[in-house]
Symmetry: C2
């Protein structure tokens, strides 16, 4: 049995998220179907670094799976890539140690949220960027973004009713960049994110960027641990999982 790690990209538009579920098309299901074809009908289970929600994109999701026999990693990548549907691509495949687990090995994730700030939307990025025509308090939004950095209890930014008890997470970096004239990209890096946390942080930053709230609202939400104080959940289509970095080396022993 050989374990493989793969970096994959997908357009989340037509998926009900990464993880297999009873209803709706998922990335996991599509990839497991391709792996089964490549393995003469044997079932191969894949494990992702985490779920992504319905509509969320990925340019650097990490998965792992076990194959009964060793295969050339680049030939395997090419076969998986060409047999996957056009909204999934396989960027790299490497053989890894059996000790590697895409979800349980300590890792860092980076998400990017894309905003289009022009008066009219851009039809070419409408599936990957959220249109927010008024973002006049841009500097205040940047100040708010910086207040998210650190180790905090993020209860105020997670979906209410989540079953996870421990809600302390560390955000190592938040950057807000203006790209081109009409695009703003907010990147979040950290050791883990709660359910809908990134989209709730973005929804709150948009309120601040629109001049409705001051930057210090971020600190108030963190302190109060109250979801009702945060902004609305920003839509899924602006969000993209861009990188998963593992702390330990994952090359085969």
């Amino acid at each position: 049995m050989i374990r493989y790690k793969a970096i994959i990209a997908y357009d989340g538009t037509d998926f009900s998220g990464f993880q297999i579920q009873d209803n709706g098309r998922t990335v996991q299901e599509e990839l497991e179907r391709v792996l089964m074809k490549l393995s003469s009908g044997q079932e191969i289970k894949i494990h992702g670094s985490g779920r992504t929600d319905s509509g969320v994109h990925a340019l650097g999701q990490v998965i792992h799976f076990d194959l009964p026999h060793a295969r050339d990693p680049e030939k395997l990548r090419f076969a998986l890539d060409t047999q996957s549907p056009c909204d999934i691509n396989i960027l790299s495949v490497t053989a890894v140690s059996d000790a590697f687990h895409s979800r349980f090995n300590p890792h860092h994730k980076t998400y990017r949220y894309h905003l289009t700030t022009s008066r009219a939307a851009n039809p070419l990025t409408r599936r990957t960027s959220f249109h927010v025509p008024k973002l006049d308090a841009y500097d205040e939004m940047v100040a708010g973004a910086n207040l998210l950095v650190g180790t905090h209890d993020f209860t105020g930014f997670t979906a209410s009713g989540t079953t996870i008890e421990y809600k302390v997470r560390t955000i190592t970096d938040v950057t807000v960049e203006r790209k081109n004239e009409d695009e703003v990209v907010i990147s979040f890096s950290g050791n883990g994110f709660l359910y809908k946390q990134v989209r709730n942080m973005v929804g709150t930053l948009i309120k601040i960027g629109s001049g409705k709230w001051p930057a210090r609202r971020i600190t108030e939400i963190i302190k109060a641990e109250n979801r009702d104080l945060a902004g609305p959940t920003a839509p899924a289509h602006g969000l993209c999982l861009v990188e998963v970095i593992y702390r330990d080396d994952v090359s085969p022993e």
Copy 2:
């Protein structure tokens, strides 16, 4: 009667081109339908700076149309934009002189062609960028691109069987840019382009960039005026009309 000039953007994926035709959905038809609604059922014809082919995108197509009564341009833009389908956006509307004609007034156009050069395609740009994983002779491609600049008979780069007789055009600028790690953007500016000329030039540049032909092939194709010497027509989905600039001022008299 008041004439309006509008700058519009569209995702060409689900259109059979700009211009109305018997079969297939077109940008012109969709916009004329919206204008009719906004004009209490009166038919309003729109004129574009030129056609774009089936599948070709635009971020800066220019149209004009006449309305019986004056309207506030920004309110008109907003109404057109919000009532258009999600793959068309109206970027600006201005009142112009009756002498303005989007097609016949002398103008300059810029087209951009997007290439993705990574090993695997990018699922998020698959509708707007052509995947060419091997572009090793990049410098030779840039040299070839520069040979297109100038006033030439472009017979060798137009679709055979076109009815236009005079095929001399001036290309004022061609730039090849690497963006990010895996994206190459080729921009063409000029006073007019023949049917499929840009896509045929791109198909030829890709042959050169892949190391199959030397840069001087461009000059040979121009001299021979022979379509058979040029590369295949690059696919429509990589092409975007980004700007139309008019020589004369078009503000109302």
